[in-house]
């Protein structure tokens, strides 16, 4: 006898998506200067959700001018007043969180369980946290009266559209900057809904400007001579291009880029907990997470036992409709991303690693990739070196703690890492030696507005979150 899950879809009726959206520029929605538009689709069905404006270089210029104009008054507001705007925004996000969660799952493809229980609560918390800093900057450890930078140009990715917006906008506004933000091409909608939240909160016009568009819009924004700050989350390749673009200017830059995190399981680890952490580490958000635990390093003596348990657990993962409350793994965000994941997985096989997936039915339309693990992976394999950004786990083994550290650090990236052990001294010894900005021990993929996030080496520079996150937007 088998027990099947009945469909448990979250209602779409809670969100009302308009057939088209303009750019949010100086407090109003306006069409692109050259009238260009593009479509955004739901990756789980390929249904067109809406049509949005493709901002041109001229639109970028207008937005920067609007932000510059707004900066004068916004930065002169008492911190306590700026704080209240941000508290308002936090509250409105809480009020509209179900609507936004459904919207995010529609536009991004992520399971409603995650958008509802992870993304949205963190978005509201982030605004709430930074709201409280706005009138306390004198006490933040950056000297008396630290000043905002001016206009911030912010470019964010598609994997956590609204959360990355929050990470960018909340600290920027709290410190007195104004912003021009470009959401990712494939996930523009939640940022446009955020524009409406700014309207509801009564935020002065020009303080937040949202420009939808593709990479050319982002390049125009980053290269604009009158912005003072660039904040980017995305690929290491684009991050390097941005670093070259701003060379020789006074623009302050923070980059949160790719990763290839090691998740290290020692022989004394609580294996059942470790399995949950491994699954959360690589399959959360379909593995489309810069800090995903994409390299499992397991101590040889427990490798077989751990892999058996991991495969058993993977067989229970439910892949499918993002709006179904029982879905664990949703859709890949775009056809382009699916092609990249597919190509790297094929390279894994071609280079000699052994591929395994639980049997699972994938929907006929939309972009899907079954949870996958590779064993027999060597450090030379592309799947051990390159960021896949998908639900693909590469398993390597080690014998000694020193070897684990050596292998974990053998990457140009350095964003995050995981450690599983019951022994405190071993955990701290390992954490000291890992060259990564966030270390999760006996847990994984935990986020909090009070906790700084960001990488070492080619995972970028600067921190988002916590007191550290203020520095990125202050003239210090």
């Amino acid at each position: 006898m088998t027990f099947d899950y009945a469909p448990a879809p979250e209602s779409r009726a809670v969100v009302d998506i308009a057939p088209s959206y303009g750019l949010f520029l100086d407090g109003e929605f306006v069409p692109a200067s050259d009238g260009k538009v593009f479509k955004t689709v739901s990756p789980s069905t390929e249904e067109v959700l809406s049509e949005v404006a493709q901002a041109s270089a001229e639109d970028v210029d207008r937005a920067v001018k609007a932000a510059r104009k707004a900066f004068e008054k916004w930065s002169a507001l008492p911190g306590a007043e700026r704080a209240k705007y941000l508290f308002r925004i936090a509250r409105i996000i809480q009020e509209r969180s179900r609507e936004l969660a459904v919207l995010e799952s529609l536009d991004n493809g992520k399971p409603i369980r995650e958008s509802r229980d992870a993304d949205l609560p963190l978005v509201a918390a982030h605004f709430f946290y930074y709201a409280g800093w706005a009138d306390k900057l004198d006490h933040a450890g950056y000297g008396a009266n630290p000043r905002p930078l001016g206009v911030a140009g912010q470019v964010i990715p598609w994997n956590f559209p609204l959360l990355m917006l929050a990470w960018k906008i909340a600290p920027a506004l709290a410190t007195g900057n104004t912003v021009v933000l470009k959401p990712a091409e494939t996930t523009p909608l939640s940022a446009l809904f955020f524009a409406d939240i700014c309207r509801q909160a009564g935020l002065p016009k020009g303080v937040v400007n949202i420009l939808t568009g593709d990479g050319s819009t982002g390049a125009a924004l980053v290269g604009h001579p009158d912005i003072d700050k660039v904040a980017f989350t995305g690929s290491t390749e684009v991050g390097k291009a941005i670093a070259r673009t701003v060379a020789g200017t006074d623009k302050k830059v923070t980059l949160e880029l790719g990763g290839k995190a090691a998740n290290i399981v020692f022989d004394d680890a609580p294996l059942d907990q470790a399995v949950e952490g491994i699954v959360n580490g690589i399959f959360f958000n379909q593995g489309q997470v810069c800090c995903a635990g994409s390299r499992l390093l397991v101590q040889e003596s427990v490798a077989e036992e751990l892999l058996d348990a991991l495969k058993r657990r993977m067989r229970t993962l439910r892949v499918g409709d993002p709006l179904d409350k029982n879905t664990d793994i949703g859709a890949i965000n775009s056809a382009e991303q699916l092609a990249r994941i597919t190509a790297l997985a094929e390279a894994g096989e071609a280079e000699g690693a052994e591929r395994w997936s639980p049997s699972c039915e994938l929907p006929d339309s939309g972009y899907w990739f079954a949870p996958t693990l590779f064993t027999g992976v060597t450090q030379a394999h592309r799947i051990a070196r390159e960021e896949i950004f998908g639900p693909v786990l590469s398993v390597l083994t080690f014998r000694t703690p020193a070897e684990a550290v050596e292998k974990a650090n053998n990457t140009p990236y350095g964003l995050s890492a995981g450690i599983w052990t019951e022994k405190g001294s071993r955990m701290l010894w390992t954490a000291d030696r890992l060259r990564a900005g966030v270390i999760w021990s006996n847990t994984f993929n935990k986020f909090d507005p009070a906790s700084p996030f960001g990488g070492y080496k080619e995972s970028g520079y600067g921190r988002e979150g916590g007191r550290h996150g203020l520095e990125a937007y202050l003239n210090v």
Binding site: K240, G248, A450, E458, H468
Partner: protein
């Protein structure tokens, strides 16, 4: 020329300082260093790109030990540098006076400030984590601690306008937190830097923690800015055009870049340089029974 009667002074052959040793440039090249009036002072090594790469290897090799040393230990070693300098104060006053065309009194003020700067930074070693770190109150049952860690190997282009105080002001903040450094001395006034190496070598500073090169700043900076095993670069000694080129090259492996700013090496240095070459590591751990 010196008089035929009396004792003939013993000249010093100035050498590079790499991995705790004092090699000549592998290229065999030297360049003439003069005082501000054009009088010959010494033939300094004209370091090559290969010397720069060797210095990076030495700095990388030293990084594990130095960054892993206790903060107390690093602080004592920086303080030891100040002690050693104090004993050789007259030598450095003479060298700085010659290098920068300063009166003896003004050169002495520079040297004294440089010695005091070592003392100031020495004290930072075991305090920086307390001002740059944080215990973060996350919304859940987790221990969450952010700590600063050294970025790694830092290429330092020492300022051109302050051969000793400026030099010390860029080296000390980089190494006190556990970074290792490859330093390009002021191009026209490298001798105080090369003499500082002799002090560093006798202050219990492990070999390779500071590597000093003399030569053409632009020639040496290019391979350092492009080097894949250098983690950060301090552009203090680069002019605007060179700084831009180096910043572009540095983007290739996303080096942390400290852009040149109008210098005032006599001013209170603050914590800016100290905090630039640090990474924040945040460790999470569940609480439970």
């Amino acid at each position: 020329m010196s008089e035929l009667t009396g004792r003939l002074a013993v000249f010093k052959t100035y050498k590079l300082y790499v991995g705790g040793k004092f090699p000549r440039s592998e290229s065999g090249r030297v360049y003439e260093v003069t005082d501000s009036k054009g009088t010959w002072l010494a033939n300094a090594p004209l370091a090559s790109r290969k010397d720069a790469r060797d210095a990076v290897v030495a700095a990388r090799k030293a990084f594990g030990g130095w960054s892993g040393a206790t903060a107390y230990n690093r602080g004592q070693i920086l303080y030891r540098v100040a002690e050693m300098l104090e004993g050789r104060r007259d030598q450095f006053v003479a060298e700085v006076a010659a290098a920068e065309g300063l009166s003896k009194a003004k050169a002495a003020a520079q040297v004294d400030a440089a010695i005091d700067r070592w003392v100031w930074y020495a004290g930072w070693s075991d305090k920086v984590a307390q001002i740059a770190g944080a215990a973060n109150p996350v919304a859940g049952p987790y221990f969450n601690l952010s700590s600063p860690e050294p970025t790694g190997v830092v290429a330092v282009l020492a300022p051109q306008d302050s051969s000793f105080l400026g030099l010390v002001s860029v080296i000390a903040p980089a190494i006190v937190t556990g970074n290792t450094a490859v330093v390009v001395a002021a191009e026209d006034a490298p001798l105080p830097a090369l003499s500082l190496a002799e002090v560093l070598a006798t202050s219990d500073l492990p070999g390779g923690v500071v590597n000093l090169l003399s030569g053409r700043t632009a020639e040496l900076a290019a391979p350092l800015a492009a080097h894949q095993d250098v983690n950060a670069i301090d552009l203090a000694g680069a002019d605007a055009d060179l700084a831009k080129d180096l910043e572009i090259a540095a983007a290739d492996n996303l080096k942390r870049v400290l852009r040149p700013t109008p210098p005032n090496w006599s001013a209170d240095p603050g914590t800016g340089r100290l905090l630039t070459f640090l990474e924040t590591k945040t460790v999470w751990h569940p609480k439970g029974t």
